[in-house]
């Protein structure tokens, strides 16, 4: 697994990812069949590879009976069914499943297989067994194609409700003999995870996986990926859309409305704030000296410097670029503890800056300063309580 930034594709991400790769941002791309037909996936895969990126495909069996027209273009989608139905999958069906998996990975020239898996739930031995069967099947495909196999470890809310339950499920999940982990952690449905306890637990789970000595790809990380190299991740998956900023099954829920955000103004992602600020409504209220401090340059934000109109698409590109720049620079540092401390410093500075903004009687929308303090505390907890884990990581060659 290549160390650095991976683009997590979602709805209408494909061209954005091409642009980012063109700017040198990112080492890999994770395709989303929910948002891209099989035919287009093959075309884009080739163009991403030409740009030097590795390509993976995440079948997203997290809500296994979810389907849509795009997913329908992948023959493997005939296996999208309820967990109880999947549990009854016959050995013969598994062979067909394997054949489809092999055909897709071969056509995409994928760099590894992400084993399809259902979200882990507490007390569900049937899911443990199902994921183990799906993994064994996918592993044979990876072996046939001579590419690595990554086990999917996506922890559902019922698992992450306590440290003990989480460790118990991780004990089962990590029994799989894989070459890496594709790791997701389900959070409550909020814009960006803000609970100190849940963020700490996510980091603990990631660190536990990293201690296996196998690379960890933190899926659906988004801005929270700032913490990922601090818990020993190898790859961080980011995307422009909010539903790619954390793992939640709502992404696969039937749409409840028109969506799309209507005419909402663009959000400007600031590295210094490690959060967004509404452009131009909020940026214009901030004194120039402070405004200069929050500016983060990217090839996609020229209108902001000139106070010109800026659209949400460019805001998304700017966000991905800034995240990629930050994570790529952290990827150069191999020591997780140093990365955790670097993130703590950045978050501490962000808090100071937020305070300065508030002292100017500007209160940012979107609760954009609601999480930095708790992330900082979560990382500090991790460094203190996870000392034995960090020590063990250092033992590895």
């Amino acid at each position: 697994m290549r160390r650095g930034v991976w683009h997590q594709c979602g709805d209408r991400s494909q061209k954005l990812v091409q642009e980012q790769l063109g700017q040198g941002a990112g080492v890999g791309v994770i395709l989303s069949p929910r948002d891209l037909s099989r035919e287009n996936a093959i075309t884009y895969s080739e163009s991403y590879q030409k740009a030097g990126a590795d390509v993976l495909i995440d079948y997203q069996f997290y809500v296994p009976d979810f389907t849509n027209a795009l997913l329908g273009s992948y023959p493997i989608s005939s296996f999208r069914r309820s967990v109880s139905a999947l549990n009854k999958i016959s050995d013969q069906d598994l062979i067909t499943f394997q054949n489809e998996l092999r055909a897709d990975h071969s056509a995409l020239k994928a760099s590894a297989v992400i084993a399809p898996a259902v979200v882990y739930e507490a007390g569900r031995t049937d899911i443990l067994q199902l994921n183990s069967r799906l993994f064994a099947s996918a592993k044979e495909v990876s072996s046939d194609l001579s590419i690595p196999i990554y086990a999917s470890v996506v922890l559902g809310r019922s698992v992450t409700s306590s440290d003990q339950t989480m460790q118990s499920v991780l004990s089962q999940a990590t029994a799989m003999s894989c070459d890496g982990w594709y790791f997701g952690f389900e959070f409550e449905d909020e814009r960006i995870p803000s609970s100190r306890e849940m963020v700490r637990r996510c980091c603990v789970a990631g660190l536990t996986l990293a201690c296996t000595g196998k690379p960890v790809l933190h899926a659906y990380a988004g801005p929270m990926g700032l913490l990922s190299f601090g818990f020993g991740a190898t790859g961080i998956a980011i995307g422009h859309s909010q539903n790619l900023w954390k793992f939640t099954r709502d992404r696969w829920a039937p749409p409840s409305g028109q969506g799309g955000g209507g005419d909402a103004p663009a959000r400007y992602f600031s590295r210094a704030l490690w959060g967004t600020i509404v452009y131009p409504d909020e940026t214009s209220q901030i004194p120039a000296a402070l405004r200069n401090q929050i500016v983060s340059q990217s090839p996609f934000c020229a209108p902001v410097s000139a106070n010109l109109q800026w659209n949400r698409w460019d805001a998304g590109k700017h966000l991905v670029y800034i995240l990629a720049q930050q994570y790529s620079s952290m990827a150069m540092e191999a020591d997780p503890r140093k990365n955790a401390n670097a993130a703590i410093d950045l978050l501490g500075n962000a808090l100071t800056l937020h305070m300065a903004i508030q002292q100017n009687n500007v209160f940012l929308a979107d609760d954009t300063n609601a999480y930095q303090g708790n992330w900082k505390l979560a990382l500090e907890d991790l460094l203190k309580d996870g000392k034995a884990d960090f020590d063990f990581l250092e033992l590895m060659p």
Partner: protein, 284 residues
């Protein structure tokens, strides 16, 4: 109770072999050091009539599938039943040397370089098992032979489990067979679903601890019940505060702490990972 067969009776039944001496028997097999007609040293194991056929088949399958210098080799398996003449036995490679049990004694502390070399060999054997999805489940000093050149060989697959196949144990628990002194917590308190390759890593951790400190992490001669040992293995952290442990280099402490974690997710991922670390610690 070990299954024993009188050597004179065995000689009468197996005239094709020259018997050298009896070896330590197990519950399922009587064992003898023999030579074949070509003068090759072998280990002849006569299988007890009560040994379940299914379990034996698994053991044979396990041994046949592995070809690794740190795992004993199966040469022959025979089951023939003629009226009045039941021949049921295995012939294995005879591993010269001695049991690790003789070298891992209370108060004996091994040099760390030797620990690293020897146990990375054990790890190589365990890695070969892992590749075939086999868990030994009874890894202990009596089941590791030490060749004259000092290299280890894992023997006795009587309790091995093939994880890809259904377990043969009928009980719901099914984890607690083997030798308690080298049990992992899941063998005391878990179910058979909790047994995996990291169960063997816990036993490896106990042996490593013994080699490095000269004492057992959990067992003490004052213990009179299995429950006391279980309590120590599953819930005690006293082994982390013993003077002999605290006197070790912090890196060795980190490795031991990890191998002896009650939760499998916190143990090393596999023996290959431990081997890499041992080679690093041993300076190889």
């Amino acid at each position: 109770m070990p299954y024993t067969v009188d050597m004179s009776a065995a000689i009468a039944k197996f005239p094709e072999y020259t018997f050298i001496c009896p070896l330590t028997p197990s519950e399922q097999k009587a064992a003898f050091h023999v030579k074949d007609a070509a003068g090759t040293d072998l280990c002849l194991k006569l299988i007890a009539p009560h040994y379940e056929r299914d379990r034996l088949d698994r053991e044979i399958q396990a041994m046949q599938s592995i070809n690794n210098p740190n795992v004993v080799k199966l040469v022959e398996y025979t089951f023939s039943s003629k009226p009045g003449d039941l021949r049921h036995y295995t012939v294995e490679e005879f591993v010269e040397g001695q049991d690790l049990q003789a070298l891992l004694t209370f108060g004996t502390i091994w040099p760390t370089k030797r620990v690293a070399e020897f146990f990375s060999g054990v790890c190589d054997g365990l890695t070969a098992l892992r590749e075939k999805e086999i868990v030994h489940r009874d890894l202990k000093p009596a089941n590791i032979r030490v060749r004259p050149d000092g290299s280890p060989v894992i023997i006795d697959f009587g309790l091995a489990r093939h994880l890809a196949l259904p377990d043969l144990t009928q009980t719901a628990a099914g984890a607690g067979i083997g030798t308690p002194k080298y049990f992992a917590p899941e063998q005391f308190e878990g179910t058979k679903h909790d047994i995996d390759h990291r169960t063997d890593l816990f036993a490896l951790g106990i042996m490593l601890y013994e080699a490095l400190t000269g004492e057992s992490p959990f067992y003490s001669p004052a213990m009179t019940t299995r429950a006391q040992l279980q309590q120590a293995v599953c819930h005690s952290t006293v082994h982390l505060s013993k003077a002999s442990f605290l006197g070790l280099d912090p890196k060795w402490q980190t490795l031991l702490r990890r191998l002896l974690e009650a939760e499998r997710a916190k143990r090393p991922a596999d023996a290959a990972q431990v081997a890499m670390i041992l080679k690093r610690l041993g300076g190889n």
